[in-house]
Symmetry: C2
Subunit: 396 residues, 2 copies
């Protein structure tokens, strides 16, 4: 299965990278218009309101019926299960605060650019997910001795690179059945039933893993004796460092470390460049890693000669929420002129965000540091019109 057939009917093409001068295509735009990231100022919220949390839907949001929903657990199990929502809600539940990031975050900052959902840096969000521990469900069903994986099937149906499919992914049982990994079959987000775009009525939540593992509209879990090799496991979501050829690639799994900054000051509508006033400017943001706690966040300021001066930010980790982003803060003194600010995270395993993008064919896990262009303007720069907002309109 190499995903190459451009079928059915030519609606589905092979994967490709954009040409050297190629702008974002109409197809990429259509994805960007329906999926969306976190507006970066929303990093201010510990828990992201649902409409601001990033959303990536492969096919259509399915029209699901919570009343008739069944989750089946079968395959290499001793006691197959078929549970409706009431049955799931009647079981012991846990709530976990989890930062979720799309594996394709950063894709549109790669050169050449893999043509797919064109994320910049904003495909992230944090929510309180409530559900039944997957480990408990698997223990209840009892896995056979030869079981190695659990395969999760969602209700979203479509075509991808010529392969018609329901969205489906697997996890090794050592992850799926480990209570310490906190994998959940979740039915609530921030205390409310799941919104349609986040998997109503059921989804998987796999703390620390990129979003492709968190199967939405979940209706079946099949335990298997051999590793799953379907499209989303073996064709998509692989790190292939060559531009062409049969390289199988390494699987995309844990979230690489990333820090993001709430862009300081205020923006220009079109360029999104930032304007600040001279003087102290508070900087703040979030940082996370699927490999373990973030241990360091550094703020960099370009010195104009190609160098960067780094200073440590203050990191505020909340031990109650080990799967959620940490907040950080720093102060910076703005002087008139143009500045470029950078922020980078280091995690407990020693992974450091790179200053050059780690390219791969699918555009996955590009955790290149965020860079923010800031212009520091005097209070009323010469030639600038009076701020409309600073005075009352049309005084009576």
């Amino acid at each position: 299965m190499d995903g190459s057939p451009s079928a059915p009917g030519g609606v589905s093409g092979p994967g490709r990278v954009a040409g050297p001068e190629e702008g974002i295509s109409a197809e990429e735009l259509a994805l960007a218009a329906r999926n969306h990231g976190l507006p970066l100022e929303a990093l201010r919220y510990d828990v992201t309101p649902p409409g601001l949390h990033y959303v990536l839907v492969h096919y259509d949001i399915p029209a699901t019926d919570p009343d008739g929903w069944r989750l089946t657990v079968g395959g290499r199990v001793l006691r197959p299960l078929a549970l409706d929502l009431d049955a799931l809600r009647a079981r012991p539940s846990v709530t976990r605060r989890v930062t979720l990031e799309c594996a394709g975050n950063g894709r549109a900052r790669l050169t050449p650019r893999p043509v797919s959902q064109p994320w910049l840096v904003e495909a992230v969000g944090t929510a309180d997910w409530t559900g039944v521990p997957l480990a408990a469900l698997l223990a209840e069903a009892g896995t056979a001795e030869d079981a190695v994986e659990a395969v999760f099937t969602g209700a979203d149906h479509g075509v991808e690179r010529g392969v018609e499919q329901d969205y489906r992914r697997s996890l090794p049982l050592r992850v799926a059945a480990d209570p310490a990994r906190d994998v959940l079959v979740a039915y609530a987000m921030n205390g409310e039933p799941l919104p349609p775009q986040h998997g109503s009525p059921l989804r998987l939540v796999v703390p620390g893993w990129y979003g492709m593992a968190h199967v939405k509209w979940l209706h079946d879990i099949t335990v298997t004796a051999t590793p799953y090799t379907g499209f989303q496991q073996s064709v998509a979501y692989r790190i292939r460092t060559t531009a062409e050829g049969d390289e199988p690639g390494a699987p995309v799994t844990l979230i690489a470390p990333r820090a993001l900054m709430i862009p300081p000051g205020f923006p220009d509508f079109m360029s999104r460049a930032r304007v600040v006033r001279p003087g102290p400017v508070p900087l703040a943001g979030r940082a996370w890693s699927g490999h373990g706690p973030v241990t360091r966040v550094e703020i960099g300021e370009s010195d104009g000669d190609g160098g960067t001066a780094w200073t440590d930010a203050v990191l505020d980790r909340d031990p109650a929420h080990p799967w959620a982003w940490s907040s950080w803060r720093a102060s910076w003194t703005a002087t008139p002129g143009h500045h470029r600010l950078t922020v980078r995270a280091t995690d407990a395993e020693g992974h450091v965000q790179p200053l050059a993008a780690p390219w791969n064919r699918g555009g996955f896990a590009n955790n290149l540091v965020q860079r923010v262009e800031v212009f520091c303007a005097p209070e009323r720069p010469e030639g600038i019109q009076a701020p409309e907002g600073a005075e009352a309109p049309e005084s009576p």
Copy 2:
């Protein structure tokens, strides 16, 4: 005020249109990644869940504090008001179901393409908005005899084409103070406090008008004796049919008619083209106009020779919700091969959606008909892999 200064510090450029071969730029992509449209399958919901309703934020979503919020009503009034949220909630309220559409919807389908938020067709949504009728607040404050407009100021602050500003727009008093126009100062969306991105804690809702009139994060209403000429009124949101020059342009006001179809069948991830099976295919969607009720929705199928065969859809108008979209349905029989479906709306004033895009410099009010490419595939076309989703994975 012509919006031309490219300041401060070059962060803000003049308006422009894209070159003949220019793909979507990085700046347009940054807007598309943070704002988002309605995934078209969400046309299935009478009332759009908040996270699926379109969002367009000019600057940043401001960090507002509902507890300390004050709405001031001043200017050419007899009794200025300063109301907190409790005071607003204590007044008689109404709830109105309103379809809201961005004035820039359709912009990215224009040639040449005005460079701004690059909407295709999806910048729409419908919500139940609860608040105090603006007409009642203006009656309470009492407008002076020479009053002609009400100017609304939001808390979002930024730069646009060189002009630093709080977002601010006006309405003629004949609209603002007319109880029949149902203009609301809204504090709830679908029965909940406004989400941050929809104006928390207060916004204006102006039924029938494009989104730019529905000022979010509303904190001041100033009644004036002369028409407001600020940036968002006189520079932006004007219909200018020439590519350059000093044309003042006509103001953007009421929503032009539009019908949208829930794309039938299932999609290809990347191309978003649709796949259906042979036989009857139900078609459904929504249609709306700010000029009055939609009176006709037609489905068109291209005949392959440049012509289109039109048939009427069944329109289902709900008199309880005159400001909301109407649903429509039709049936279509798919035969194997490629098809192009079109849908167009006509309103009670006789406005009909155009088959060629109405170009203007700002890319506003482009209500060109939606066209949906559909490929009808036999159940198991030759050369197509078996649907992964149709069979159990890795049977035990």
